[in-house]
Symmetry: C2
Subunit: 766 residues, 2 copies
């Protein structure tokens, strides 16, 4: 009921496939000194387009709305919920499959290596281990480099940017989905210090996009009913649900998933969407639970307790004194500093890698091989440096562990001893985290072990992010954080009564807070992961401290990556310098506008010469008494109209004919790169001299601001309503009815700070 | 960093104290048939005012912004966080005090009565019990009826309306805060079927408002530093924090508090605010924990385990089969129906009570006495109807309970027996819920007991809400829901393996979902209350089912009360009929506008004759070539300007003089009913003939829409940006530069549906 408004009348299209650098350079010649800040990571090969959440009110859409039947509205609501259900089901199954595959692949690898080690064939074991890793890594990298380069990395920044209104090329395409799923499986199985959680979020978003399209148009499997969802607003809602489902599937944290979507991913939010997202994640939770129940019977190969991380530390006692609180604060401050350093290094490494990655797919794969070998060397080599530990007597479980996973890896040690560093390194990441978080195991890991592991994982995590495989950041950060927390816990042991396992949890919280800068969602995710509500106040405190400390140094890692990729992200707040500029300062010309009834050749030339996506339509005499702003027409709509060739020889209004010929869904918006292109038009000379009536497809009520409005105020309007174009009108009468158009790029600091107007303002003030 | 935008340059004021009915009647004579829908509960005695979240850009504020120092921005940020801390501290302490007082008062009452019952003086016991209740009830009602009538009821609808932009009279005043705290204590102690949770939310909001004002201006204790917070936007943020802190204190649910504020209370939300809210609730959690730790040593009188509800059912086993799922679905469907019926009855009862309440404070108190006697009769009388039960043998605790609270009330029974209905009825509400949710106690309550209790509590809850005491809805709904759940659990016992205690929890969830229609926040609150994360999927399912079912019948109880109080709440979505109207249809004249330099008498007359809060300023020759829209000036700013008497004999611009005389904070917005009033002006005849320059206080960039924009689109703009005035400009040039102004009331369905334009549209269509 609360979503009736969403039942949009317009089905919208737009194309503005420009590379980011060009228009900025055209507009702002003085901007060169700031270029280095943006578009580092391959943005200049990657077309991006703005999304548009405005309600388009043109005659055609209005007619369609009026003729829409009640049962269609009902159909729409049913479909919306069905899609939410399907997204939940699909994401849940994919999340489970992901875990199942990783556990089996990695488990098989460890079994193979362990058998060789038991026979004391240590060099052969290393060769097997390293080559398994390289093979898995190369598969992942090949998929990524050749099929879908945009599947590399976490994917959360891209989803975040999409939900902010930036559609980057093929970011949610079916090929990306495929590579994201399988690349992530092979990458994680290859023992990289990467997680499958970030990729799951991206996977969820891709699934939502695919389902919303109702299949791929390329293969002509679209579903007529889904025509209501062919617009940016409904797609945004679906993808918000999808990203929440992804988090829910990755962490088995349904509430955490909703909050993640709310706090980190989404830029727009409504209460009704909260409910739908919640439903989706509930479905995911049910699917996962059923699958795990199914696997209990042992039908899932090596998938055991290890799959689908869940670090149950419910049994921990949780009384704490003020000395403990001091320890927690200390942990948070240092964790915040280390977290912001992590971001700093990630930034540097990404910039360095982008040079190599741009040379071509072969170089990408080589980089992956190098990092894979380095990881293998670390995880196989470093445990040799440390001594063996005799198995403790009081254990319930086997020691040393015989099977695949477990706390007590025998490694090179004699029987009845174990190598504690191997228990962390020579294991899946999930098992390593489980070991670090385990309770009542103070002595299990030596101080030196924890130190070596922490340092190695901290830097491995940093250099692994950015190579051409799907790589989540959650797991590396949790690994580094929990080993750091356990280390501090051991050091502060005499002062504090908290269990070292709880210290590990708090350490993980401090690192997460320090890198990702989320609060509520991380808090809930950690609670759901560890199933311990009584730790809530301490986890909250830890997150608040580390975020506050880290915010003094730099921004959150996802924001940083968004900037690095050159995506024009609109912040929710306006920068202070925007107060000193007015909208009229920022718009740039020359502005191309059309008459209400325009000559075909004029339109064709304008489309050919510019990359603009929206053109103002101005009614002039004889159609009105004085020039008046009729509205805004979109490039994609013009292309459809021209393709239909409903032209006249005379300059007359033919609105009714056009509205008879076209249906509203002819103008529906398809995904990026899929609609009509300028090259699809073919006009002969006669047609070029004819006229076409633009009024039926002109949005007659675009949002406007007066030229004297401050840029800050205009930015808030633009961002709050999710606009693509904002028309600037003159203050004084008697001038042409429009001054210019503001788009997303006009609000970017790279553009604004390079403007002559801004610089003169600065001089005036200085 | 993310909040720089919030550092608003304007400090804004406005006054429009009109009663709701008048302007609606003036504007829409054909609206009479819809009147019955609104303004039932005392709205015609209660002045309301719209809040304004627009950034005002007039010359004075712009100058102030430019001259603002960097250290002031830093000061602002520090203050903002200090206020969040203070809100958390204060709300936490108040929440604890509340519980402490209730436990001691109610505990003392039960001790007294129990002693008499042990001596078998049953009539005297009843007399004591009933008179204690009546005395406590009368105290609560007297406070409420004479000091702060707006403290009656839950307070959540009012807070919700405030955060939507509606400032009702004295809703957040210090007197309301006082009555809310003490009225709630006495009301709950008087054994009414009411909760202290809703009032805690209101209390939190009042505390935030008071702290944001920096004390009461009436007593000249304001704090100069807080001048930055004298505007609606900063106040809104504080009050959002306050309401979250209230929930956190009421339920000891810090994350639930944040989500409640997000899902139910707030209409606008930013990521940065999420973080601040989270901080506030973390402070609340720490305060409560420390206080409880302090009470462990027994220094808090009768405050024991009973205080600060926390129903720990962590130990429950949580495997469930598909038969259990069917039971859960059944529970949810019936729960949803019963929940929506609850809303229906509440609505009817509120309408009936409002007639009585409007007759005066004495009648209010009489009503309270009647309900109190009825409650006493039920809770003392009904247990007599049911037989005594022998104490089970396996118990660890005392049976029958000797002390104040406990599961096994002896009541009229012989030794070693207990009355199970008395265990529920003759107890504080918190203890009754704890009993209902207790695990492994299938046989403790008879089916007949549960049935009688459920029916009695269901209807007592309904008739108690709406009397003149602060009364929360959470506890009555949880009580009814959990007894319903336990009843169903007993009936389905042979089919399901779930514990009856878990059934009670799920029943409570279904009732909460059915009445309040929240999902995520209720889910988290229930988890935090019961400390059982493994129930998460079932609780989610239950909430989703009951909300879906109940939404088929009516709206959430808080929305219903907002409508009933006649508060013009702006929904996030536009209604479908708004698509068929354009902005120009809805604005109504005659519009009063001023010249840039205007004669004092014209302004004075306009202020006197109309209640309008905003007036367009139109520059006319000789100050411009043609009439042009200069901006919008607010009534409250005009009053300050006129009071300053910076007039000239000639019609000339004197902007600089005015900007020298006034400071921006002279125009800062004070709370409702506290600023300058029209009556404060005194003009002599000479002054009336002079001129004043309005331009320095004219907001030169108000948001405008073209008259042909659909009302739906304008409504979304209005709501998303939190506007108070939206200017409608003409489509065609050559007409006066403004058509009219849209305010909140113009979007209300009562107004729109009564318009002749709307009705003619309907005829056209029909």
């Amino acid at each position: 009921m609360a979503e009736r408004e969403e039942h949009g009348i317009e089905i919208e299209g737009g194309r503005e496939t420009r590379t980011l650098k060009e228009p900025l350079l055209q507009k702002t010649p003085s901007r060169i000194n700031t270029t280095s800040q943006i578009a580092i990571v391959g943005a200049n090969v990657c077309p991006i387009e703005s999304l548009d959440y405005e309600i388009l009110e043109n005659d055609l859409f209005k007619q369609d709305w009026r003729s829409r039947q009640k049962n269609e509205i009902f159909q729409y609501i049913v479909l919306k919920w069905t899609l939410a259900l399907l997204i939940g089901l699909a994401t849940g199954f994919v999340g489970f499959f992901n875990n199942l595959a990783v556990e089996n692949l990695a488990g098989f690898k460890f079994l193979l290596t362990n058998n060789l080690m038991l026979k004391e064939k240590f060099y052969l074991a290393f060769a097997t281990y390293a080559s398994c890793n390289v093979v898995l890594a190369v598969i992942a990298a090949t998929l990524c480099a050749y099929i879908a380069p945009s599947a590399a990395g976490s994917g959360i920044p891209e989803v975040k940017a999409y939900l902010n209104g930036i559609d980057a090329h093929s970011i949610l395409a079916p090929s990306t989905l495929f590579v994201k799923i399988f690349g992530s499986i092979f990458g994680v199985a290859a023992s990289f210090v990467v997680g499958k959680e970030g990729p799951m979020v991206h996977t969820g978003a891709c699934i939502a996009n695919l389902l919303g399209q109702g299949g791929s148009r390329k293969y002509h499997i679209t579903w007529r009913w889904l025509r209501f969802f062919k617009n940016d607003r409904d797609r945004r809602d679906l993808i918000t649900c999808g990203s929440a489902a992804g988090v829910a599937a990755a962490f088995r944290a349904p509430v955490g998933g909703v909050l993640f979507a709310l706090e980190e991913a989404a830029s727009w939010w409504r209460s009704a969407l909260l409910w739908r997202t919640f439903f989706t994640t509930a479905v995911v939770a049910v699917v996962l639970r059923s699958c795990i129940e199914f696997c209990r019977s042992g039908k899932c190969g090596l998938f055991g307790q290890g799959g689908l991380i869940m670090f149950d530390i419910n049994s921990a006692s949780t009384t704490y004194s003020s000395a403990d609180l001091l320890a927690v604060i200390f942990l948070g401050v240092i964790g915040g500093i280390l977290g912001s350093l992590y971001n700093f290094f990630i930034d540097k490494v990404l910039r360095a890698y982008s040079i190599m990655n741009e040379k071509g797919p072969v170089f990408k794969i080589m980089l992956v091989i190098i990092i894979s070998l380095l990881t293998s060397c670390c995880s196989y080599g470093l445990p040799w440096l440390l001594p063996c530990t005799p198995c403790p007597a009081y254990l319930e479980e086997d020691c040393p562990t015989v099977g695949r996973t477990g706390n007590f890896k025998n490694f090179q040690c004699p029987p009845n001893q174990y190598n504690d560093l191997a228990s962390l390194f020579f294991n899946t990441n999930d098992d390593a985290i489980r070991n670090l978080l385990s309770l009542g195991t103070v002595k299990e890991f030596h101080l030196s072990t924890l130190f070596v592991f922490f340092v190695a994982i901290y830097f491995l995590g940093i250099i692994t992010y950015g190579i051409a495989i799907p790589s989540g950041l959650f797991i590396p950060v949790i690994l580094a954080g929990s080993s750091y927390g356990r280390l501090v816990g051991r050091l502060l042991g005499p002062l504090s009564n908290l269990d070292t396992g709880l210290f590990a949890l708090l350490g993980a919280a401090s690192f997460l807070g320090g890198t990702m800068r989320m609060t509520v969602s991380l808090c809930v995710i950690l609670l759901e992961l560890t199933n311990n509500l009584l730790m809530l106040p301490l986890v909250m405190l830890e997150l608040l401290i580390s975020k506050t400390v880290a915010d003094c140094f730099n921004r959150g890692v996802y924001d940083q990556i968004v900037t690095l990729k050159g995506l024009p992200y609109m912040e929710a707040h306006a920068e202070p310098y925007m107060r000193n500029l007015v909208a009229g300062d920022v718009v740039s010309g020359p502005l191309i506008s059309f008459n209400g009834v325009e000559k075909v050749s004029t339109i064709v030339h304008a489309l050919k010469l510019t990359k603009h996506n929206g053109f103002p339509v101005i009614n002039e005499p004889p159609f009105s008494e004085a020039p008046e702003l009729s509205g805004l027409v979109l490039r994609s709509h013009l292309l459809v109209l021209l393709k239909g060739k409903k032209f006249t020889k005379q300059r007359v209004m033919t609105g009714l004919d056009i509205m008879r010929k076209f249906k509203a869904h002819d103008f529906s918006k398809s995904g990026l790169g899929k609609g009509l292109k300028f090259e699809d038009l073919d006009m002969n000379d006669e047609e070029m001299e004819m006229y076409v009536d633009l009024l039926p497809i002109t949005n007659t009520s675009p949002y406007t601001v007066v030229e004297t409005m401050s840029l800050a105020k205009a930015a808030i309007l633009f961002r709050q309503l999710g606009l693509r174009h904002l028309l600037v009108v003159p203050k004084t009468p008697g001038r042409p009815p429009i001054v210019g158009i503001l788009t997303r790029h006009d609000f970017m600091s790279e553009h604004v700070l390079g403007l002559p107007t801004y610089q003169s303002t600065q001089v005036d003030k200085g």
